[in-house]
């Protein structure tokens, strides 16, 4: 199955769940909402995940003098420095972390970002 086929299938299931939601009890509706939310995340991961990860890597690369360090290694390193008080209130660190947070939210819950920036 190609990525495009997988996306089409998930979209179809998502649409069916949306129709089922209106014709069911409140408990089932909650379950359908959860399932729909999980599918939405999967759709965004499949369609935009690579681009998002590239954006995160770029934001984190600005913080690491070592170009070969993996994004996760950069995050570990920054975490340790923050805890030791070596980056207190550092605007560059803040901007990078904020950018990463926005990219992550774009995949997991873009609605939250829309409400926050209203």
């Amino acid at each position: 199955m190609t990525q495009s086929d997988a996306l089409s299938l998930i979209n179809l299931v998502r649409e069916r769940l949306g129709r089922a939601k209106d014709a069911t009890s409140s408990l089932n509706r909650y379950e359908i909402l959860l399932a729909s939310a999980a599918l939405d995340i999967s759709l965004r991961e499949l369609s935009a995940g690579d681009e998002a990860r590239a954006g995160m890597t770029e934001a984190l690369a600005r913080l690491s003098p070592d170009a070969h360090q993996s994004p996760q290694a950069v995050l570990v390193n920054i975490s340790q420095k923050i805890r030791k008080g070596q980056l207190d209130g550092d605007p560059a660190i803040f901007e990078a972390l904020f950018e990463v947070a926005k990219i992550n939210l774009g995949l997991s819950n873009p609605k939250f970002l829309e409400i926050e920036t209203d």
Binding site: L34, I41, Q72, L75, I82, D88, F94, N104, S108, N109
Partner: protein, 360 residues
């Protein structure tokens, strides 16, 4: 046999209820599972007692453990004792009735309380117009919270499991959250950033008798964990996290933006103004709310919820519970909370001098 009780459990439960109530016969009319309760399972019981003080039809809730639990969650026995202490202190809670030990009916302990009716769901209670007089509700919630904080927990034998109050609650909490983050497979620098901000801005350790001296906390006092009927508060629920701490932390948890649901602009739990909630608290406690301290605890509230969300996500990812609810909490909430924590602790909100810190 119901969907929630095996025939053996049902028979044992009937015997247990007969023994505890003084009735000769108890009929189980209906059993169903109540919504919510990722950590505990709540069963609604409709019963009929043929004699004794409970004679007639009664509606109770049976609370027992879910398959797994979150760190820092209290046992059913401890929760029952907390509920009893609150009931005795005049706090609006469901009346605790009986505690059941392990193997008495189920393999694990449980307790039974009177069922209260009303609405608890946060997204419903925070809809505009959902409550006729939201300020009156917020004031009552402030009064109830102050009443909880006045419970003489140290003097109550049933609460000895609480141990000694921490000397410096916020520093203790920060250490606990860092220890949990150290056990995670991934790094969370946004939470580290928030924890460092809280560490730098933490009020000095309070002296005994000060407004923020450690008291018994509910620790999950928020919209979603109290029941409202006809606009009035009928009961505070979910005592599983109660412990010692800074009273302002309960106020911070209640006011934190992450617990306002549809009422983001209404700072007291998404239902009303902060002033009404503070007013009720001050009236009952006889102390002033330390607003700056509450704001710091609101950042801590986001961090605490983030840690709980990571724990819930781990219950799914480590294969303990195949729950979509847990999986989504672990996937979505940490991202939302990272963003919110960073928003609250932007670089211009860092004070570098000790003299600038609250409580100095």
């Amino acid at each position: 046999m119901s969907d929630y009780l095996s025939s053996t459990e049902e028979q044992k439960l009937r015997d247990y209820l007969v023994h505890r109530s003084g009735a000769k016969r108890v009929d189980i009319i209906e059993v169903h599972r109540l919504d919510g309760g990722a950590i505990q399972e709540n069963l609604s019981l409709d019963l009929n007692f043929d004699a004794g003080p409970m004679r007639g039809r009664q509606s109770f809730v049976l609370r027992r453990d879910a398959a797994t639990k979150v760190l820092a969650s209290r046992s059913r026995e401890q929760e029952f004792n907390l509920l009893k202490a609150a009931w005795d202190a005049g706090v609006k809670v469901p009346e605790p009735l009986w505690l059941g030990v392990a193997d008495e009916v189920f393999a694990r302990p449980f307790y039974i309380m009177r069922k209260i009716s009303g609405e608890a769901r946060g997204h419903i209670l925070t809809k505009p117009g959902a409550i006729d007089d939201p300020n009156a509700l917020a004031r009552d919630l402030g009064i109830q919270l102050a009443r909880i904080h006045k419970i003489p927990a140290k003097e109550l034998a049933g609460l000895s499991f609480l141990g000694e109050p921490p000397e410096d609650p916020i520093i203790c909490d920060i250490a606990a959250y860092r220890a949990y983050l150290d056990s995670c497979p991934l790094a969370y620098p946004a939470f580290e950033w928030g924890l460092r901000w809280c560490e730098l801005h933490a009020p000095q350790a309070p002296s005994s008798g000060a407004p923020s001296a450690p008291v018994l906390l509910h620790r999950d006092f928020r919209t979603g964990n109290y029941m409202v009927e006809d606009g009035r508060l009928v009961g505070i629920l979910d005592w599983e996290f109660a412990s010692w701490g800074d009273p302002m932390s309960d106020l911070g948890w209640f006011c934190a933006a992450c617990w306002r649901f549809n009422g983001r602009e209404r700072e007291a739990g998404g239902i009303a103004s902060r002033e009404a909630f503070y007013e009720g608290y001050e009236l009952e406690s006889g102390t002033s709310v330390d607003h700056e301290n509450v704001l710091i605890w609101e950042v801590m509230a986001h961090l605490r919820w983030a840690i709980i969300a990571l724990q819930q996500g781990a219950r799914f990812s480590e294969g303990h519970e195949l729950s979509l609810d847990l999986a989504l909490t672990g996937r979505i909430r940490p991202d939302e909370l990272s963003y919110a924590v960073l928003q609250m602790t932007r670089p211009d909100r860092w004070s570098t001098s000790a003299a600038e810190r609250p409580g100095s």
